[in-house]
Amino acid sequence: MRGAGPCLLGALLVCGIARADDRLQLDGLIDLRLVHTDAQPSYLYGGLGTVRFDDDHDGLRLGRASLALRTRLSETVTATAVVDAYDDGDINGAGVSEAFVQWRPFPSNSVRWQLKAGAFYLPVSLEHRLLGWSSPYTLSASAVNTWVGEEFRVLGAELEARWLGGAHGYRGDIALVGGVYGWDEGAGAVIAQRGWALTDRPSFVFGELGQARPGLYYQFDSHPGAYGGISWRHHERLEVRVLHYDNRADPAASNLDGDAGWNTRFNALGARWEPLDRLTFASQYLDGRTAVGPNGSPYQLLMNLSAWYGLASLEFSRDRVSVRYDRFATRQVSGFYGAPADEAGHALTAALIHRLTEQWELAAEWLRVESQFPPRAALGIPVASTDTQIQLALRYRFRFEPF
């Protein structure tokens, strides 16, 4: 299955080009970073760091090189694929982040249906509003959405029914959304091993994260995962999302490669409020658990997880200033191999994004994460650590429409 992403991408390209009457949009992004950090070794380099870069891996870095392809296969069917590269020494430095087909028929009454199939992000984040699942607010995602990007890529289908208020004098809409997916049994492994982090380094479709890890996306039981949620948009000012996720993995299952079934479920609740045109507040809360090992066994590793953040962002003519406070914790309920891997921490992020031109953008971000995490002791790192990371980003965006 590892080649499925590139194959799907190829198919999308061929379909797009074959229909010359459809538009093909290519959106590119080059994001160069100047990074200064004293952080403990990053997870991407075998450590347990809470930020993307570390003391040995800073300086001039490729933040991200991205190409998003969008094409219209018919009047109501679109196809999207996003390929990304990160120069961070990970096993998977480049790959497919998203590849999906979306069908959105015209509504014939107040309920509009939408079907998505392929590989795409869970509809949880209220930070990632831009193409390529990037944020207009900060460089590093919140702890909640870092995890969503790292371990959860829907490999399946999502159905949405959205009640459109316009015809009833209400400026807003409410949607019920549900998804089924596979290759999800790895979801939970990273958070259990490393704890929470704040990065802008999602995993790839069928990819891995960190060095010498088993893959994140695998399947060896017959239980598809499922999620269901509600999205409410009010007057273009308020958006509220609620989602329940359960990968329904068998925690007793494992395969010959040493991959185990991580039974992970969580509830996510978030709201984004824009009381003024230039002012945004956002907050998300996630509460869940992951378990591996037979149910009822004292050897089962069972870990409770929770995290939330509050973000405020103010936009001027060419500048956007954002401040975010994150708080996060894990608690190991059972399955002790040494000290419980209970984590408690908080983070403060301050970012300034300055638009130079339509295509060029400068961004600066200061991020400090303070946390306690007992497993660090085994690596000779203080259990209570502070990771500080300062980044300066130069971003160039371009669009190409060959047809």
């Binding site: 538009r23 015209f106 509504p107 509003r129 316009g166 015809a167 948009r233 007057h235």
Partner: protein, 235 residues
């Protein structure tokens, strides 16, 4: 007939005004010239805080059966700009042709499932589609299948006596023949119940009636286009 609807919005949406089509492509509805004693009816709308309310549709319905005024086929434009319909509300007479030019860099798919007019415009930028005729009276709610936040309204009325208030909350509807009329106002901003949004008036020979509406409830928030967000919120 001076169609005053466009005057008030001229500052905000210079190209989004109702205009009389050139004679060459106009066709004429069987008509007679109105009586010499036609009046100009002035309607004003004020919010609960006393401020004038612009862009409110004003329609004079009823009237005394008899002489039908001369009408020309008119065309109108409902543009799309910064992921909003501009104007948000358009008042047109039955039979009006409406164009839907897209001024955004992103494509739109405009539709309506309102009983007064069901239609779908396949994906387009610029002015890709011929105008659409609105032949049935009623409120037509517009949407875009790509951008759910886009909502627009076309109020289709059989009455030739209609207009929209200017920023001073005023509209002057000219050439109204004597008779009994129901004056109705409507806008998506108005929260008052429908009975508060209509009045009966008698137009008599040589009269210049003035009708004032003072709303009892606060206005609903108006959508504000935010440039630079054309590609936001795909997730």
């Amino acid at each position: 007939m001076p169609l005053t609807a466009g005057d008030g919005r001229a500052t905000r949406t210079p190209r989004a005004a109702v205009r009389v089509a050139p004679l060459a492509c106009a066709f004429f509805v069987l008509a007679a010239i109105g009586p010499a004693g036609a009046a100009d009816v002035t309607v004003t709308v004020h919010a609960v805080n006393g401020k004038p309310v612009g862009d409110v549709a004003v329609v004079l319905e009823g009237g005394t059966p008899g002489p039908v005024r001369h009408r020309e086929r008119v065309s109108a434009r409902m543009e799309q700009h910064n992921r909003h319909f501009v104007p948000e509300l358009l008042v047109v007479e039955t039979g009006t042709l409406v164009e839907f030019p897209n001024n955004d860099s992103v494509s739109h798919q405009v539709y309506s499932f309102s009983p007064a007019k069901r239609f779908q415009l396949s994906l387009y930028r610029g002015t890709a589609h011929p105008p659409i005729e609105f032949a049935t009276a009623g409120l037509v709610v517009l949407g875009c299948n790509i951008h759910d936040e886009m909502v627009g309204y076309i109020l289709v009325t059989p009455s030739p006596y209609h207009g929209q208030t200017d920023p001073s909350g005023t509209v002057r509807i000219a050439g109204v023949p004597p008779g009994s009329y129901r004056v109705r106002i409507w806008s998506p901003r108005l929260a008052d119940a429908p009975p508060a949004l209509e009045r009966r008036i008698e137009v008599t020979d040589g009269d210049t009636p003035q009708v004032g509406f003072s709303l009892a409830k606060a206005l609903l928030a108006a959508p504000t286009p935010r440039p630079g967000r054309s590609e936001w919120d795909a997730y």
